[in-house]
């Protein structure tokens, strides 16, 4: 119980990160790799938010009177994650447009078959 309380979010975040890296390393389909990238992004965002959490804290909005600033969670990681989500969607859009062009050129998305350039 205590273990769950203190580690469940960390387990979720790093679980996503490791599963994403595993997808990137083992799968050779480009779209599958991009899915892996988006899963890594989600994991990193979760980790960042965990860094600012405060037990029994409230959201950092003075929406009603009587909220004390000491009890609010840290807004900085939330601002960073907003940035990171938008960066993630930009990279995804870029990657998917590249994937579409790659498919038009080669007729496949399998990175093992696309090896024109030698090291």
């Amino acid at each position: 119980m205590n273990f769950l309380n203190s580690y469940i979010f960390y387990i979720g975040a790093f679980g996503l990160i490791f599963i994403g890296i595993y997808i990137l390393l083992t799968r050779k389909n480009l779209i599958k790799m991009i899915i892996g990238l988006s899963i890594i992004d989600t994991g990193v965002n979760l980790l960042l938010i965990c860094m600012g959490f405060l037990k029994k804290g409230t959201a950092p909005i003075f929406s009603r009177p009587g909220i004390k600033p000491e009890n609010m969670v840290d807004p900085t990681p939330q601002a960073l994650v907003l940035t990171a989500i938008v960066i993630g969607v930009a990279v995804l859009a870029m990657a998917l447009s590249l994937a579409i062009r790659l498919y038009q050129h080669y007729g496949t998305l399998d990175m093992r078959k696309i090896k024109e350039q030698k090291w």
Binding site: G12, G15, I19, P60, V89, L96
Partner: protein
């Protein structure tokens, strides 16, 4: 409360593993959409409503749509 969260985390990780295992890319994309959706609920539990909103509208909805458009233009099987 903590058990709900633990259940959500387990479902989220299962979604990620499913995204890894599915051979059909469309199913994999739906699984990764599930991951984003549960992540947005977790953000809400972590007292981050702004981020939850952004993750739900951008991460779960738009990214999935972009993926599906791209899959329609390419191939569906891995």
């Amino acid at each position: 409360m903590i058990f709900i969260i633990a259940f959500l985390v387990v479902v989220m990780l299962a979604g990620a593993i499913a995204a890894c295992l599915f051979r059909d890319l469309l199913n994999a994309v739906i699984a990764s959409c599930l991951v984003s959706l549960i992540a947005s609920i977790l953000f809400y539990f972590l007292q981050a409503p702004d981020v939850a909103m952004a993750e739900a509208s951008i991460g779960a909805a738009l990214v999935t749509a972009i993926f599906i458009i791209a899959i329609r233009r390419t191939e569906r099987r891995e």
